[in-house]
């Protein structure tokens, strides 16, 4: 869903404000959840600080003059995607979900079943708040009859007020649709958020999860059993990654399913090596560090790298890294957000600490240099691709593995 050339466009910002088209309304500045857009008091000229920008796209969809260009998820490619999906699924239902609420196909299906709907075309966006109303209207023109939006619950929005702003806009669209004579249930909004769950029968009561949780969501209430308060849980998965008994699951990102994905990818390792003549890499990246390549309908392969998106770098699991090496990958790259820009709390810091200790263990099997952590952000076009390329180059300099 990205419209960019294949050449190296690294460090090219993915969001730009076109001053010629800007009408100086400063709406963008007022909706930006990260104060990345400032407006001059006297001239009303707006300025984007790309370092603060988290590429949520809310500004772009709010701009009445279409003066803000973002590289990702623009109307035309999204419509093409919807069209393709409609034909594939033979469905006139479109589900718009937010990456942060992390619905797997299973979750989406069960939600649709609840609404007595069959298979559906789906679009997963970094924030439902980023779609302009025109996109929804266009899909209706294309033959969509039911729109189901599944944004995150407001207080768990990874883009602060993104969910609130987006929902407001969706409700406005619904009112417009009603006025235009569409059925009242043409557009439904169903909010959700992902949570961790403790399997108390497996819990050994060590307290690791409670200590690592930055939200105070886990207490050791009953002797020897961790108790999780779903209200406080933000779904970052840091607890899941430190549980010695593998007793904590995270919606859509539990240990087994990620393991299974790694296993499936590992079957491609010989092919990757043969086809690209490069080392086969597994990338475990925070889903906020890269947009288009991590979209679930992409096949998850970028040249020599297999990509797995995680809700937060805090979910990076030592075992998954070990499994990747054990199954034959040549390198593992961890992508995390910049230091102070974790969409959750300190997830990148937690990952860094664990990766540090894991590298010490890996040194004993000469694999420590084959594990790296880097910061990635969608604010620079192709950032992750660029980091993968650099990592691949470094891997090529290393002596042969000798393991697996």
């Amino acid at each position: 869903m990205t419209e960019h050339s294949s050449q190296d466009t690294h460090m090219q910002p993915s969001v730009r404000i076109d001053a010629d088209h800007c009408g100086r309304c400063t709406v963008c500045s007022s909706v930006c959840p990260f104060d990345a857009i400032s407006a001059d008091v006297s001239t009303a000229e707006v300025k984007l600080d790309i370092e603060k920008c988290q590429v949520c796209g809310i500004c772009s969809s709010a701009c009445p003059a279409s003066a803000i260009e973002t590289v990702y998820y623009n109307v035309d490619p999204l419509l093409k995607h919807v069209d393709r999906q409609m034909r594939e699924k033979c469905s006139d239902t479109l589900v718009l979900t937010c990456r942060g609420s992390g619905p797997s196909q299973k979750v989406i299906t069960s939600q649709l079943e609840k609404m007595q709907l069959g298979d559906a075309a789906s679009v997963i966006l970094p924030c439902v708040g980023r779609v302009p109303p025109e996109l929804l209207l266009e899909t209706l023109k294309m033959g969509i009859r039911k729109l189901v939006a599944m944004p995150c619950e407001d207080e768990y929005c990874r883009f602060k007020d993104g969910s609130m702003i987006g929902t407001r806009r969706l409700l406005l669209v619904r009112a417009t649709l009603n006025q235009l004579g569409f059925e009242p249930d043409t557009l439904t909004v169903s909010k959700r958020s992902i949570k961790a769950h403790v399997d108390s029968s497996r819990c050994i009561g060590c307290g690791n999860c409670g200590y690592t949780c930055s939200y105070g969501a886990i207490t050791m209430a009953v002797p020897k059993v961790a108790e999780l308060n779903p209200e406080a849980c933000s779904g970052c998965g840091a607890c899941t990654a430190v549980c010695p008994a593998l007793a904590i699951t995270l919606d859509g990102f539990d240990y087994e399913s990620i393991s299974q994905t790694i296993h499936d990818y590992s079957l491609l390792v010989p092919k990757i090596r043969q086809k690209t003549k490069k080392s086969a890499i597994l990338v475990l990246s925070c889903q906020w560090g890269e947009f288009s390549d991590l979209d679930p309908d992409q096949e998850g392969l970028v040249e020599n790298a297999a990509l797995i998106g995680l809700p937060c770098a805090g979910r990076v699991d030592d075992l998954h890294v070990l499994e990747a090496f054990h199954l034959g990958f040549d390198g593992v790259l961890i992508g995390a957000c910049d230091k102070d820009q974790c969409k959750l709390k300190e997830g990148n810091g937690k990952a860094e600490q664990r990766i540090g200790s894991l590298k010490k263990l890996l040194a004993e099997v000469n694999l420590d240099e084959r594990l790296e952590m880097c910061s990635v952000s969608p604010r620079n076009v192709n950032d992750l691709n660029h980091k993968i390329r650099l990592f691949t180059e470094r891997l090529n300099q290393l002596p042969a593995k000798g393991v697996a």
């Binding site: 060590c206 008994a245 099997v365």
Partner: protein, 541 residues
């Protein structure tokens, strides 16, 4: 919890070298960090990968269980999983490894980690700290919930020793807290200082005789607790057995010197120095492997000093290198060799010395040593009440730190020993009248003859070293400046200035405080002491 540390993969692989199919068993019990299913899986993969590096084919199957130390649980939960296992790798503590091996004697079981200690988890600093040594006799009720057996490097029952400075311990490079200062602070907060003042008799180590077992009957068995009678804090009015105590009792101002036999068989220098001091001092201390350096025996040196120079010796005994059996043995020998004075001290910790790998003893501490000596001298009995034929007679001295901080913790510790019965106190060095007055005032209620330490500087280098490295030394900046200036003139001027300063200080302490005398330390340049004593003029009057 039981704190463990994983072994290197190389070590594990070499243990497993003769096996292929390995069951990697996690333990969800009390080992920390917890090594359950997650770690079992991680180890399984790492071992297989490590094996490949060495062309070994391991097939590891990870599993975990509740507590590996419970033979019933091992039998029932692990039993069905062991069929095709040629070996087991246990991720539990040493107890788990052995239980597995006892339940499954036909499957070799190996440890994946080293078991280190019983400790608490300090999550915020990502550290574990040792807190219990399973000594079998919990003292925490009397020690402000701070375990001296575990947290004092020497495991002292009657601490602190002289190796604490500002609450930090000499063992481990001044990083760890002195357990006894923690105890003092805690007890003071709780208004329970009586527990601090209490003297604890030597520990009965039979209670931790290995291997220990606990049967159902033993659970309710009560053990008798022995306690020592507390004597008077107002000093001891005992007999003088030698020249030193005789002079003190006569009210004469006395000096003692100090000699240090080194790593040699030749004691010529020591004897020569003793001869230089003769006539100026009432007695000379002979050190016992100071700062834990392995040197010539102190008892033999003491004997030779007395024989060759005719000056009375103060035989210093530390409890670092001898248990109660060896201590008694040396004390009896000292009696036969004509030693009249014993200075009972704990001794610097082994790791600060020149053979830091050695095993520290510390069966007794300086207080329990005084307790033992009193029994020997006064009752003719050893610690266990066995009769000694012709028991020896000594005057007993103890050491003290006049600069200790907090001073009250030091003074109460001295009181503890004074109540047992000591004849005199010798201290570490003071460098000003103020330091001397402060300490003398604090210990005056103990009415025990006290000899404050005085240590002139041999050279500027030595002064710098003392200031920088010798903890608890407070050299006033004015003195430092004065000596530095003198050194700019010449080496001789430096020594001259020393003589000037210390003779003046001695004079002042003599006039202004209630000291019984002074303990002069000038190891290696004892010749300066007669000059200083002479110049101070205190012996003339």
């Amino acid at each position: 919890m039981i704190v463990t540390k994983e072994k290197s993969l190389a070590e594990i692989s070499s243990m497993l070298a003769f096996h292929k199919k390995i069951l990697v068993v996690g333990c969800d019990g009390c080992t920390t960090p917890p090594r359950g299913l997650r770690e079992a899986k991680a180890f399984a993969m790492l071992i297989e990968m490590n094996g490949k590096l060495q062309n070994k084919e391991f097939t590891c199957r990870p599993t975990t269980m509740g507590k590996q130390c419970d033979n019933y649980e091992v039998r029932t939960t692990l039993g069905p999983q062991t069929q095709d296992a040629q070996a087991m790798l246990s991720l539990a503590c040493g107890v788990g490894v052995q239980t597995l091996a006892e339940v499954f004697p036909n499957i070799p079981t190996y440890p994946a980690q080293d078991t280190i200690f019983l400790g608490s988890q300090d999550r915020d600093n990502a550290a574990m700290h040792e807190r219990c040594r399973a000594c079998g006799e919990c003292l925490l009720g009397e020690t402000g919930s701070v375990c001296p057996i575990t947290r004092c490097a020497k495991g002292l029952l009657n601490g602190p020793c002289g190796g604490q400075v500002k609450g930090k311990c000499e063992a481990g490079g001044w990083k760890n807290d002195c357990a006894w200062i923690l105890i003092y602070n805690r007890l003071k907060e709780r208004s329970e200082l009586d527990f601090y003042k209490k003297f604890r008799i030597p520990k009965d180590y039979r209670i931790s005789e290995h291997p220990r077992s606990l049967s159902a009957e033993a659970l309710i068995e009560k053990k008798p607790t022995a306690e020592a009678k507390a004597g008077s804090p107002e000093g001891r009015k005992g007999e003088a057995y030698g020249e030193l105590m005789k002079q003190i009792k006569e009210g004469r101002f006395v000096f003692t010197g100090e000699l240090e036999p080194m790593k040699t068989t030749d004691l010529k220098e020591v004897i020569e120095s003793a001869k230089i001091l003769k006539g100026h001092v009432a007695a000379i201390n002979v050190t016992d492997n100071p700062t834990a350096f392995g040197f010539f025996n102190g008892l033999v040196s003491s004997y030779l000093v007395q024989q060759e120079s005719g000056v009375e010796a103060v035989f210093q005994i530390t409890t670092r290198d001898r248990n109660r059996i060896a201590l008694l043995s040396d004390v009896l020998a000292a009696g036969t060799l004509g030693i009249k004075n014993i200075l009972a001290i704990t001794g610097d910790y082994t790791t600060v010395g020149d053979m830091p790998q050695g095993k520290p003893v510390f069966d007794l501490d300086s207080a329990t040593l005084v307790y033992m000596l009193r029994k020997v001298i006064d009752e003719g009995l050893d610690l266990n009440g066995n009769k000694i034929e012709h028991p020896p007679k000594f005057n007993i001295g103890i050491g003290a730190s006049p600069n200790a901080d907090p001073l009250e913790a030091e003074v109460l510790k001295i009181e503890r020993k004074v109540r047992l019965g000591v004849d005199f106190i010798q201290t570490q060095c003071v460098y000003s009248l103020e330091q001397a007055e402060c300490f003398m005032e604090a210990v005056s209620y103990l009415k025990t003859p006290t000899l404050l330490g005085i240590a002139p500087f041999k050279s500027q280098a030595m002064m710098d070293w003392m200031i920088k490295f010798v903890p608890g030394i407070k050299v006033p900046p004015e003195l430092e400046q004065r000596l530095r200036k003198a050194r700019e003139r010449s080496k001789e001027a430096f020594l001259e200035e020393n003589t000037e300063f210390f003779s003046e200080l001695i004079h002042e302490i003599h006039d202004e405080t209630s000291v019984a005398g002074l303990h002069l330390m000038a190891v290696g340049f004892e010749w300066i002491l007669p000059k200083i004593i002479e110049k101070s003029g205190v012996l003339r009057g």
